[in-house]
């Protein structure tokens, strides 16, 4: 019974965070760019969340007649489902975790690699050249950055000797992994931004070149699904960064463990928004070149050095 409550609670909290991020992101962007942002509905404009979601629900849910109907409908569902599945392994506190799998990190990587289907299929099913271009870009970008994301976490797996996320958090009781694996943190975060295709790496949707990229043809709640999927992805990468590199729920005892977890996660969500507010978008070939020619050698070097040091310490 307790298990069901945890699942429902996690789902409730996540969906509310994703909706709340609509407001948070727009307010923070406005602050950093010296604008006002939404400030009409409710105190500090917080009812913009309600207005935006109501607007999405009441919009006509249009399926273009030239689109491939079933694939068009499935694509937005895949992104939300795959991101929500990833949260299964996130330990919010020692007791609040849906399932502490012994292949935890691999499960996270598998689910995040499935997210690419929503972009590819959504772009293909729209039957529109801009969507297809966005889909092709998205596929190559996400396949490439998935590799670095996986490899950057393997240093931590070597040091901990486990794929379980609770073991990884417990291994950070003395020193957070950010101090042992700083290179991995940078690469993981860059890959995370690319995987969630957020600015500055929102090349699959690049509105100045491709209208809205892979979701040009989507409207109403189907577009809303891509939207929610993106915010859930931001939350997921922030939560993973907090868990893997910043000790997850660990922290001084005056706050409960889950509070520490949420504080750390929100710090990274804010960093995501700051990136969006401040950085320009690279060109598509620059993104791929940086990935394969800089990040891949770096992450392999990091892995080799970590392995050598781990062997040397153990004797």
């Amino acid at each position: 019974m307790q298990h069901i409550w945890i699942v429902l609670g996690v789902l409730f909290v996540l969906l509310n965070i994703a909706a709340g991020l609509i407001w948070l992101e727009r307010r923070m962007l406005a602050m950093w760019q010296d604008r006002l942002g939404p400030n009409r509905a409710g105190p500090l404009g917080i009812l913009i969340v309600l207005a935006d979601t109501l607007k999405l629900f009441f919009k006509e849910d249009w399926i273009p007649p030239f689109a491939d109907k079933w694939v068009f409908i499935t694509a937005p569902a895949i992104v939300v489902a795959s991101v929500l599945m990833s949260f299964v392994i996130i330990p919010f506190s020692p007791s609040i975790i849906v399932s502490d799998l012994n292949v935890g990190i691999l499960f996270f990587l598998a689910m995040s690699s499935l997210g690419v289907y929503s972009i590819v299929l959504g772009g293909w099913a729209s039957n529109n050249k801009y969507s297809l271009l966005g889909a092709l870009r998205g596929a190559s970008q996400m396949i490439a950055y998935e590799v670095f994301m996986g490899l950057s976490l393997m240093g931590i797996v070597m040091l901990t000797g486990s794929f379980k996320l609770s073991d990884i958090v417990n291994a950070q009781k003395d020193v957070w992994f950010v101090f042992k694996q700083p290179v991995a943190l940078v690469i993981f975060f860059i890959a995370g931004v690319a995987e969630t295709h957020r600015l500055p790496f929102d090349i699959p949707e690049a509105e100045s070149e491709l209208i809205a990229g892979f979701h040009s043809e989507y409207s109403g709640m189907k577009f809303g699904m891509f939207f929610i999927g993106e915010y859930l992805g931001v939350t997921l990468i922030s939560a993973m960064t907090a868990t893997m590199f910043f000790g997850g729920w660990l922290g001084p005892a005056f706050l409960p463990p889950w509070a520490w977890f949420f504080i750390k996660t929100f710090a990274f969500i804010l960093f995501f928004i700051l990136l969006r507010a401040s950085l320009p978008r690279p060109r598509y070939d620059q993104l791929m070149e940086t990935g394969w020619k800089v990040l891949l050698p770096l992450v392999l070097l990091n892995l080799m050095v970590t392995g050598a040091i781990a062997l040397w310490i153990r004797g």
Binding site: V71, A110, L114, Y117, F163
Partner: protein
């Protein structure tokens, strides 16, 4: 019939039906999508056999990477029913004969094997599919074949780059 049995049979049905759908779909993109469903069903079987590592790696490698590349290529080729080359009737005939022979070979193998009789799921039994045992087996007993396979992959990659280069 326990939960494991129900899961086993529904996964089996799912795998077989989607495998047939891979073959009969007219649109090649649909074939790829059904093939992804097959991989999911097979991953489910791996989990029933207590091989979590194999299940997840099957998802990461096949469903997550290789099938995306398949989709990528098929979308670029822009195949549709009008441009699809028609195969001759003889090709279809011999295809059915060869496939049927292979199928009957496998069925006879499964029927004659005493080990496989009446077994479906082995929850919490056997440890070969867990990361620790698999890693130890790969890097102790099978280290030379493992390294040779990795060199094979590396040379295949280098070969692809050489062929793909213009001059």
């Amino acid at each position: 019939m326990g939960t494991a049995q129900i899961l086993f049979w529904s996964l089996t049905a799912l795998a077989l039906i989607s495998a047939i759908m891979v073959l009969v779909s007219k649109n090649p993109v649909y074939s790829v999508l059904w093939l992804i469903v097959v991989f999911f069903a097979i991953s489910g079987h791996y989990i029933l056999l207590n091989a979590q590592f194999l299940a997840i790696v099957n998802l990461i490698v096949y469903a997550g990477a290789i099938m995306v590349l398949f989709l990528f290529v098929i979308m670029l080729m822009n195949l549709n029913t009008e441009t699809e080359p028609q195969k001759s009737i003889w090709m279809k005939f011999f295809g059915v004969v060869a496939g049927g022979l292979l199928l009957s070979f496998f069925i006879s193998f499964v029927i004659s094997s005493a080990d496989l009789k009446g077994k479906s799921a082995q929850l919490k039994e056997g440890e070969i599919g867990l990361i620790k045992t698999l890693g130890k087996a790969l890097f102790n007993d099978y280290v030379i074949p493992f390294e040779i396979a990795s060199i094979l992959f590396l040379s295949a990659m280098v070969g692809a780059v050489v062929i793909g280069k213009k001059d």
